[in-house]
């Protein structure tokens, strides 16, 4: 008995600690200071990009190319200003990006996934120094080349920019533009190119699309501006130039966006559903198992508080299917209790004393509890793998939550319920209080 009291005190302490850890739970904005919410609950964007590694620089290994892209995406996301983004490589050539709470998704998607290769081009000239045009009368652009520091011919690209480009407004026209500065080698190249293209257009291309072709007015060395942009485009381009162009092109192969209002709707509805489900379960247990049911209800309360505490402290990201798993695990948590109580009733009917019935009931029920829950664990493990193969955070959330829920329910049934029962049988000694009629 002394051991049981110590266990009881331990459980109550654990319960108190867990309660302290999760209170105050701001139910209005669950997640601000409480639980970590997944994208489907707080809104945001979930993107899976695939990199075309066949287009990488052949001198680079696949891993180097991917690491480079990952780093650049990270810089872009950080510069854009997203709280708690997730940027992960998946498999050989995929990148998972999660942007919680992002408002303008189109802008964010464009910013992150665009290669943003900036090229400077000049108009091709014929042997007489006259510009060449194609059939449609468009000028023929060729890469602007010049001699670099080492005397080699180099193509002027965004690679030679200092990472301090910024969106500004032209003081005269109030037009948005991106101001940039060249690094040492870029300045040398730019000087030669502007020098030979005086009064001629210089094409500025972003990913092979022309964004502007200003006429060169003077020989320029250190800096310049890119015009012909909207303010939003200027902001995006500045971030992209500063992070550097991506080493390989990316395409979106999966995208999931959730509006924040839908997320909070889901939370509200899930809370109601969970409360109703829990109430029904407790009512049923009380009516059917009487005192044992009360014990189960208390054990369920401990279970619920511990579960939320684990979610908060680890922390584990809660998704909508995760909440479903949580509510489902309430139903399953009762299972172990039911198994035990049924065994206990059998022993009571067979004429055993209360204490003996409790102990025998637990011992007999254990193999079934263990064996049956292991099958659920197997299902969870397989699901977790499955969810990981295509970046389905919803599937993973469900599997992880169910796993934790079932594991904790075993602890709850074996330790918490048993301790409570051992305690309460001293006060409720009539077998009929446990739903047995004899």
């Amino acid at each position: 008995m002394g051991r049981n009291i110590r266990l009881l005190v331990f459980i109550l302490l654990l319960f108190g600690f867990a309660l302290w850890a999760i209170v105050p739970l701001d139910s209005e904005k669950l997640g601000r200071q409480g639980l970590t919410l997944g994208l489907d609950l707080r809104g945001g964007s979930h993107l899976v990009y695939e990199a075309d590694l066949s287009q990488k620089d052949p001198s680079q290994s696949d891993d180097d190319a991917m690491t480079g892209v990952l780093g650049k995406i990270e810089r872009r996301v950080n510069a854009y200003g997203v709280a708690e983004p997730i940027i992960q490589r998946q498999g050989q050539n995929r990148i998972l990006v999660q942007l919680p709470g992002v408002k303008d998704i189109d802008e964010a998607v464009g910013l992150i996934g665009q290669t943003a290769q900036l090229d400077f081009k000049e108009i091709e000239l014929d042997e007489f120094g006259e510009p060449l045009f194609d059939e449609e009368g468009e000028p023929q652009w060729i890469n602007a080349m010049a001699k670099g520091i080492d005397g080699e011919d180099k193509h002027l690209t965004g690679k030679y920019l200092k990472p301090n480009a910024s969106p500004v407004l032209d003081p005269q026209t109030n037009e948005p533009q991106v101001a940039f500065e060249w690094d040492e080698e870029g300045a040398i190249l730019f000087e030669q190119i502007t020098g030979r293209n005086l009064q001629k257009p210089l094409g500025i291309f972003l990913d092979d699309e022309i964004i502007s072709a200003p006429t060169v007015q003077a020989v320029i060395k250190e800096s310049g501006v890119i015009t012909g942009l909207t303010l939003e485009e200027a902001r995006t381009l500045a971030i992209q130039l500063n992070s550097g162009s991506l080493d390989v092109p990316l395409t979106i192969i999966q995208e999931q966006d959730v509006d924040a209002t839908l997320g909070s709707d889901s939370i509200q509805k899930s809370l109601i559903a969970g409360a109703i489900g829990l109430a029904l379960v407790i009512l049923f247990m009380l009516l059917y198992y009487r005192v044992s049911g009360l014990v189960a209800a208390c054990a369920l309360a401990v279970y619920g508080v511990l579960l939320i505490a684990i979610f908060k402290l680890v922390p584990i990201t809660l998704t909508l299917p995760g909440i479903a798993a949580l509510i489902l695990s309430i139903g399953m948590a009762v299972d172990a209790n039911v198994l035990i109580f049924e065994r206990m009733k059998e022993e009571l009917r067979a004429g055993r004393g209360l204490l003996a019935s409790v102990e025998v009931g637990f011992n007999r029920a254990w193999p079934a509890i263990r064996d049956s829950n292991i099958t659920t664990f197997i299902a969870c493990a397989v699901l977790y793998w499955f969810g990981g193969t295509f970046g389905a955070f919803m599937v993973r959330g469900f599997a992880l939550t169910l796993f934790i829920g079932v594991a904790l329910s075993m602890f709850s049934a074996i330790v918490v319920t048993r301790t409570f029962l051992r305690f309460i049988i001293r006060f409720a000694t009539n077998p009929s209080a446990y739903g047995v009629h004899r």
Binding site: S266, M285, L328
Partner: protein, 306 residues
């Protein structure tokens, strides 16, 4: 004493009644794959003014999306499924619809999957279901290794499991052509949960049979199995009831986003409870009594040996 095992052929008949229409539907129509498996784009749009579904369909068609699926999901929201589109196309689509219907459009959720990933997901789903089934079989065989013929126990549990899978997929196949309900990754998730649950229930019944066989409560295996099922019937029903309570609560009040996922669980749990009580144990008896031959010859279209 209620004789469950004695009515084993009745239960097989009931199962057949449920499963055969599903199998026929599966054979003819298959399952309606969602974009997780067949690629495409889905979105839920909310309009600040009242919009008719027909109007929306017409506007989508004018924008070139003729093969769209549109469903009103209540509260003025519309669920739309179209082919896979790019970020630019998406912008055009939203602004196009907004100006055509003179409404402010909110994209409540948006999901797009490319064919590359869809094919992989389909393959991985199949692998996941198979791997789960194999591990369950191995586990059950191990858990019942002290029983004579442990593989037999595992096989019967797996038959009960396959039964539940067939019930759920059959019903969803019918719902596919009847109500346009699609199969997505969450369906597979629900399915694997059902698989775990079904085996879980079967294991509890088998555990009792194992115990009663060890105790030697009867020389007749049929009697042993029957009393084992009866002894666990309260537990089986009570556990299922509490689980069904919470599932029903989510189904009715939990919002539309995961409704079909919950429906998988709802059907699966009912089927799982039934199969663990009325199929798994009786199948053991059928096997033990070598009734397979009789069962086969009982089928009317098999020619009886002379």
């Amino acid at each position: 004493m209620i004789d469950i095992v004695g009515k084993r052929y009745w239960f097989l008949f009931v199962s057949a009644l449920v499963i055969i229409p599903g199998i026929i539907s599966l054979a003819i129509f298959g399952l309606l794959p969602g974009i997780d498996f067949s690629s495409g784009t889905t979105m839920t749009l909310r309009f600040d003014t009242e919009v008719e579904q027909g109007q929306l369909r017409q506007e989508l068609a004018e924008l070139g999306y003729t093969k769209s699926i549109i469903q009103g999901t209540g509260e003025g929201d519309f669920f739309i499924r179209i082919r896979e589109i790019s970020t630019d196309e998406r912008q055009e689509l939203i602004t196009g619809i907004g100006s055509a219907l003179a409404a402010d459009v909110t994209v409540r959720d948006y999901y797009t999957v490319s064919p590359i990933i869809a094919t992989e997901t389909g393959r991985n789903a199949a692998i996941a279901v198979m791997v789960a089934a194999i591990f369950m079989l191995l586990y059950i065989a191990w858990a019942f290794r002290r029983m004579p013929k442990p593989i037999r126990w595992g096989t019967c549990a797996i038959i009960a499991l396959v039964h539940d899978v067939l019930v759920v997929t059959g019903i969803f196949s019918i719902l596919g052509w009847a109500a346009g309900i699609q199969i997505d990754a969450m369906f597979i998730t629900g399915m694997l949960t059902v698989v775990g649950y079904s085996v879980n229930n079967t294991v509890v019944v088998f555990d009792r049979i194992r115990e009663n066989v060890s105790k030697g409560i009867s020389k007749d295996f049929e009697v042993t199995v029957n009393s084992s099922i009866l002894e666990t019937v309260a537990r089986s029903l009570n556990t299922s009831l509490t689980t069904l309570f919470v599932i029903l609560a989510i189904f009715l009040f939990g919002g539309v986003t995961i409704r079909y996922f919950i429906l998988v669980l709802l059907i699966g749990v009912i089927s799982g409870t039934y199969s663990s009580m009325c199929l798994a144990g009786p199948l053991l008896v059928i096997w033990d009594k070598k009734e397979w031959g009789r069962f086969v010859s009982w089928l009317p279209f098999i020619k009886k040996p002379a």
